[in-house]
């Protein structure tokens, strides 16, 4: 349970806001760190901590793209293919990522290591093609640097 396992974080988050409801997103991040994704158990725990109905918490999970409703790979690779990045070769780069990982964007490798997603603008258009690996920025990627990154994570 988060309230035991991550007691300090939970308390610190709840103390940041005058209402418990405001803590729902930061607590979902904690749940996601612990469980990998926001499954029904995680949702029920966060609902209890914020004194919300689980349905309301689930609607928050569904609304925001960074909360995962299904199990993902250990590394979630998110490549921006929005217009500014695409003008600098992002679409071709995504094709390379798919080829390297042997999956299409939106899928997870069979070994459960990598999930590949395409995302909208992530505010780093000056260093395209750009990706995030578990929200860590990887700037100015090339097919070679992507391959090396993936091989290093394997």
């Amino acid at each position: 349970m988060l309230k035991e396992k991550r007691a300090d974080d939970v308390q610190a988050i709840l103390a940041k806001y005058p209402t418990k409801r405001s803590a729902v997103m930061p607590l979902l991040y904690v749940a996601q760190q612990e469980y990998g994704y926001c499954d029904d158990n995680a949702i029920r725990e966060v609902a209890e901590l914020t004194e919300l109905d689980p349905t309301e918490v689930k609607s928050v999970v569904g609304f925001y793209t960074m909360f995962f409703e299904e199990k993902t790979g250990k590394y979630v690779i998110e490549v921006c293919d929005d217009l500014p990045c695409a003008l600098r070769g992002a679409d071709e780069f995504v094709r390379h990522c798919e080829h390297k990982l042997g999956i299409r964007a939106g899928e997870t490798t069979a070994d459960g290591k990598f999930t590949l997603r395409t995302v909208m603008c992530i505010a780093a258009c000056d260093r395209a093609p750009v990706a995030q690996v578990n929200t860590e920025y990887k700037y100015s990627l090339t097919p070679e640097s992507f391959d090396k990154m993936v091989d290093d994570l394997k």
């Binding site: 217009l83 505010a123 920025y137």
Partner: protein, 440 residues
């Protein structure tokens, strides 16, 4: 610029560390305000400076602060660091490289309106730069510049970071407030305006990161000093994000109204292989596209408006002659379809249908009538959406057809037998993701 007002990390290495920031006039404005200025004096100097909101709307910041009722407490300062407009990456650099200037600006704003809590809302993808900002906030607390009874002034201030989780709509200020309250990020009906009933229904100032980063030098050096930069109606300097078809994409800080779009592109290294510029998006996907004939437009709010677009957040995406306009427009419409919050029908349905028509055209099934259908869909949305997202979504459609209708007609003609193979892979990917629930 010779000496930056905002991107000071380009002049002073490691200014993100508090010692180096303080050795370079850092927190001098904060000390000056707390030890010798009344809150209304701080507000006054910001009003006199003419600083306009840098998030997009360009509304005078000091005037906005003045809308808060004096006698209602608590009040809140909320900082908009959602930075999600395609082509915008200025706040990213500010919080990652010059975070103390942002913190000092937040503090001065809080003092001016007498708020004792400020929330900095950062987009969830900024988890990494958020750590830099949090470390800077911690340093400021340790130095006695935040917290209780700051510098023995009797003023208390807490600054907290709140991370979003991937929703462009949260850059809309009332959607941001909803999100901060733990709800779906969907815009609120106005009035009441946030100044009167904002966060937790209390008086709230919401300013962009860059707007507040301007405040410390204004308070320290005065309104007249600030007005040496820029024009009468657009004072100060502004960060211009340049991306797309340029050799040196990046952030360029310039006095407003001094340079032209052409000069900005030159600063950014020109286009690849010196290709001709085809179109300019001055504020990402939200701004009407401008044709190359607008290259000599000056970089300020009034000039861009006169040219038929907006300065907005000044995120200049450059398209050169090699770019297929129909493909680019589809990318932008896909963005708005993905980011529509679903609250109002014109936006939710309009972006959905517009993307369907674009997909039809781009997959080589389009007809000339489909171009008019796009205009119909956009007109069905214009002035009918609950918030600006839906209105912005009509920009890429209407402005690209207005300026580049011949490109659309040619695309339809050349691909009428379903031969647009080069785009098939991309469309298939988007559709597969849509089915898998990533709501493209």
């Amino acid at each position: 610029m010779e000496k930056h007002v905002l991107l000071r990390d380009l002049d002073i290495p490691n200014i993100r560390e508090i010692d180096i920031y303080q050795a370079n006039e850092g927190y001098a404005a904060w000390r000056k305000a707390l030890t010798g200025m009344k809150p209304e004096e701080v507000m006054g100097v910001v009003k006199d400076s003419g600083l306009r909101g840098r998030g997009g709307a360009g509304f005078p910041a000091g005037v906005k602060w003045g809308f808060l009722p004096k006698d209602v407490f608590p009040k809140y300062v909320v900082v908009n660091g959602d930075e999600s407009e395609a082509g915008t990456f200025k706040d990213h650099q500010l919080i990652a490289k010059n975070p103390h200037q942002v913190i000092e600006g937040v503090a001065l704003c809080a003092y001016a309106v007498q708020a004792s809590t400020a929330y900095i809302y950062l987009r969830g993808e900024f988890a990494e730069p958020a750590k830099v900002l949090q470390a800077a906030i911690d340093e400021a607390y340790a130095a006695g510049l935040l917290g209780n009874n700051v510098l023995n002034s009797g003023f208390n201030l807490d600054i907290r970071i709140h991370l979003g989780a991937g929703a462009y709509i949260c850059g809309e200020e009332t959607a941001l407030l909803e999100s901060l309250e733990g709800k779906l990020g969907q815009p609120r009906l106005r009035p009441p305006f946030p100044a009167v009933q904002g966060l937790y229904a209390k008086p709230t100032v919401i300013n962009n990161v860059e707007t507040l980063a301007n405040v410390p030098p204004i308070v320290l050096n005065g309104a007249q000093w600030y007005r040496q930069f820029g024009t009468e109606k657009s004072p100060g300097t502004k960060i211009f994000c340049v991306s797309g078809c340029v050799n040196k994409p990046g952030n360029y800080e310039l006095p407003l109204g001094q340079n032209t779009i052409r000069e900005l592109i030159e600063m950014a290294g020109g286009t690849p292989e010196g290709r001709a510029v085809k179109g300019i998006l001055p504020a990402g996907s939200s701004a009407p596209i401008l044709p190359a004939s607008a290259l000599d437009t000056k970089l300020d709010y009034e000039s861009l408006a006169a040219a038929g677009s907006i300065l907005g957040s000044a995120s200049f995406v450059i398209l050169d002659e090699s770019v297929d306009i129909v493909w680019a427009a589809r990318k932008m419409v896909r963005f708005f379809k993905h980011e529509s919050c679903g609250k109002c029908t014109p936006c939710r349905e309009g972006t959905f249908w517009a993307l369907r028509v674009y997909d039809k055209i781009v997959s080589g099934q389009g007809t000339q009538a489909d171009i008019d259908a796009l205009v119909d869909v956009a007109n069905g949305m214009a002035n009918k959406c609950f918030c600006l997202l839906g209105e912005f979504a009509t920009s890429p459609i209407l402005s690209t057809i207005k300026h580049f209708r011949a490109d659309y007609e040619q695309f339809v003609r050349e691909h009428q037998n379903g031969t647009a193979d080069e785009y098939r892979d991309e469309l298939l990917r988007d559709h597969a993701i849509q089915v898998s629930g990533q709501h493209v």
